[in-house]
Symmetry: C2
Subunit: 250 residues, 2 copies
DNA sequence: CGCAGACTTGACCGCGCTCAATGCGAGTGG
DNA sequence: CCACTCGCATTGAGCGCGGTCAAGTCTGCG
């Protein structure tokens, strides 16, 4: 992933080539036809590369752009007054970060790269101008934001009604689905996030996540060594997570 | 509330008069100037009146419109595969219902009137056409949807990190704020929803909600008799809910 | 090699769920 | 008017899931 790219790209707004991007059918270009694609490419900037742990923005950054993940993975989180963190989403390639920040002058959350990550940047002012001119793109933006709301509601239900096992099964299945969308294996993959992040996202303690992982392993549902995971019995996992055939998050 | 209106209005698309609506500074008209307001009024239909418990739409209704609450109150909920319900929001006058449904052909949730409720209807197709022409209105739509995402994330944090007392304090304060916005008392008001709904929304058992209410009452934080509530010590409540100065939900 | 951070495992305990009984107000009919 | 019911709310007793605390174990990196 992100193989031949320089370690840290100069902040020169490099014009992106959505035409040749393998993610164009997951991302914003999905909405526009061939002729309009160029208008979109005109406003998209190919962003820099972020190393694991680097901030893309935080809640004190003034809001300018939404970002699409090109490779790698991103987590977003909010921090409460008393300093507690809540991860609000994990974003994989093709998914859009920052839709929750389109009100207000600052980002509503903090975005951090979970691994080596490359992103595309959509300056919102230009994006809004463009969506005014391209009804299909506007429609697509509404759809994306609406889906974000839906996914968040699904997460609400997961947290409010489901046990630790159910939550973790749901997350594993969600990741599996999203890997498959990108024509990667939905059976064996590498978790982009630490146990800690999983725990935080799902409202659990790290120890609980760990225990559930080993329990699943003993039951033959998965095989896990560190971040490497193999889903051995997906139907059984779906049984455990007796809800959420739809994914948890974007 | 909704005093002189007929019991059930004929489905004649009655043109709404946002000009004279006391909620115009909370609702969509906020975004548009005097001259554009007429364009908005052209597409808004004054909806019918719903009695307590009536469905406005459910997950099998094909998606056509977003709705603004004019008077009364609405709850939205999603139902999982195994039939469990999760309330995703309470909507008071001036707040917009249906933003989570702007992807897909059907509503993403079920909306039910909690009391005698009057609503305005915004057909989305016309709304999208209009937001294409009025950049300020488009911007406002993005803002509203973005806020909806943020509120949902706040709720996620509440469910994932906070105790029963903290959740309930946060909800009471949220309601208080929202009543005040409409220049009603933020101190003494009547809960639009049953204990059951509060429990479901906050991921608790009814019994727990009941217990916390009486505990708050014994501590002199509130006075509650049925749905009538009086907040006696708001600072203390804010102390209990050590997060969420922002409201939980729209 | 050694240290730090991530992960696992175990022991214990408390918050909030479950189950069950009771209280209470509104609506209904005798 | 009371008796009855039905839905909603309250209160109590008991227990289990998952959090907390505390050791270990594993892993990668300087």
């Amino acid at each position: 992933m992100s193989k031949t790219l320089p370690f840290r790209q100069a902040p020169t707004p490099l014009k992106a080539s959505c035409h040749t991007c393998s993610l164009s059918k997951l991302c914003l270009p999905l909405a526009v036809n061939e002729t309009d694609l160029e208008s979109l490419e005109d406003i998209v900037q190919q962003g820099r590369i972020y190393n694991r742990g680097e901030h893309i923005f935080d809640q004190s950054t003034s809001f300018r752009s939404c970002f699409a993940v090109r490779s790698g993975a991103v987590k977003t989180s909010i921090v409460s007054e008393d300093g507690e963190e809540q991860i609000t989403g994990f974003f994989l390639p093709g998914e859009l970060v920052g839709l929750d920040s389109m009100s207000g002058d600052f980002y509503a959350c903090t975005a951090k790269a979970l691994e080596r990550t490359s992103i595309c940047e959509f300056p919102v002012q230009k994006l809004e101008e463009l969506t005014s001119r391209l009804p299909d793109l506007q429609h697509h933006m509404y759809q994306l934001m609406s889906q974000e709301i839906q996914h968040s509601h699904q997460l609400t239900m997961l947290l409010s009604k489901n046990t630790a096992e159910e939550r973790i099964a749901a997350l594993l299945l969600s990741l599996s689905t999203r890997f498959q969308r990108r024509r990667l294996s939905g059976i064996r993959f590498s978790l982009p996030m630490a146990r800690n992040d999983i725990a935080n996202f799902l409202g659990l303690a790290v120890e609980t996540v760990s225990r559930v992982f080993t329990r699943f392993q003993n039951q033959g549902l998965i095989r896990a060594r560190g971040r490497e995971v193999e889903l051995l019995d997906i139907p059984a996992l779906q049984g455990v997570s007796r809800e959420l055939s739809r994914q948890v998050c974007p």
